[in-house]
Symmetry: C2
Subunit: 251 residues, 2 copies
Amino acid sequence: MNILITAGGTSEKIDEVRHLTNHATGSLGKEIANSLKNEAVNVYYVHGPQAVLPENDAIHFFPIHSVQDLYDTMKKLLTTISFDYVIHSMAVSDYELDTATNEALLSEQIAEKIISEEYKTKEELAQLIKQVLTDSHQSAQPAQKKISSKNDKLILVMKKAPKVISQIKTWQPSTHLIGFKLLVDVSEEELVSVAQDSIEKNKADYILANDLTHIKGDQHIGLFVSKQGIEQRFNTKKEIAQGMKQLILKN
Amino acid sequence: MNILITAGGTSEKIDEVRHLTNHATGSLGKEIANSLKNEAVNVYYVHGPQAVLPENDAIHFFPIHSVQDLYDTMKKLLTTISFDYVIHSMAVSDYELDTATNEALLSEQIAEKIISEEYKTKEELAQLIKQVLTDSHQSAQPAQKKISSKNDKLILVMKKAPKVISQIKTWQPSTHLIGFKLLVDVSEEELVSVAQDSIEKNKADYILANDLTHIKGDQHIGLFVSKQGIEQRFNTKKEIAQGMKQLILKN
């Protein structure tokens, strides 16, 4: 039996010294991998740069940095190896760098656009400005090795990163997908509703929905959500790992 | 003898799950602290969240996250304890978060400003836009627990963070300050010139100037620069640590 686990967080390069990181320790992924240690399971473990790792020589490790790295690695794995379960616990950035600019350069570009086009209403004007922010950034400034700190403002325009979770079932329709959803300080209804949207959208079988305000050390409240609603409630990382293990071995 | 070492990188919070981090392992700071292990030196060690740490029970550790954290911690230490040397090797972010916004909201704000003010030239128009980017961001959007990923673009407007290195001699004029300057792929002349500017501006005694393209594993080319020019050339972290140690103990 092959299981693919993702854990930790992604890290998007801003320049040679700066990164936008999604903070995640990877300890839940580690706990899940550890719980499978004595089972007849091949674990493939894709992890971010800062993730704590399970100690298990039998695990196949795949370190990644950016979302694009993750995308390429997952695509390769899922189109070459058959997995019974994909447990996608990694905190994946929604955005990656489009352009790094500054207040002077960006103002000039917007002014240039407004002067060269016609508009009648404030809405049309806003639309012109939005076009500059949305389209023309690619060529705004050449990629820099280390972004200069001379300007008052560093403006980071981030664009949507590829959505890995939505591709998993496309790459391998027969696998079972357990996704994770982390929200911050929301109601249980909202948590479940967002989890069910994700099940729908990403063809996930289950989502482990959790709220950052309910994660502290070993305490880790998680709702195991299916299309039908809450299947199980977990209170610790150990409980979550045991729950996953039971589900996987039942298969 | 008291020595204050800073090491690792700072991490600026964008929201509850995202951070802008300055990548630095802290291994040079660790090497310097380790070289002082058997000397009659009290080491105070201020370090970023991901830094590798020297193993030495006698060291006083001060973990920090953001630049503001670093500023507060350094101020407190330097105004209460007398240090013979401050070895400031930490990679400190030049910027901290001003506002997180998106293409729709920012366009509207700029359009609003342009409609409500008068301008004659393109330069005046650019100036108006710049005002929005520079001034009015504070109240653009309430602080968010987790920034929504609904918009096409996440626009992070970063403002200048407090400059810690420039305050060190203000807080404690009698200390000796060794600063660090990391550039990427520049000539030796530029490296030395930037280091000497920093000596001048920050009243540093020395700057260890290095270029990221010459740092790989244990290889770590560093120019030890004073007001007079290059004092010494180092090729490894060990050599840098030994050089610092000799300088400190000579005192």
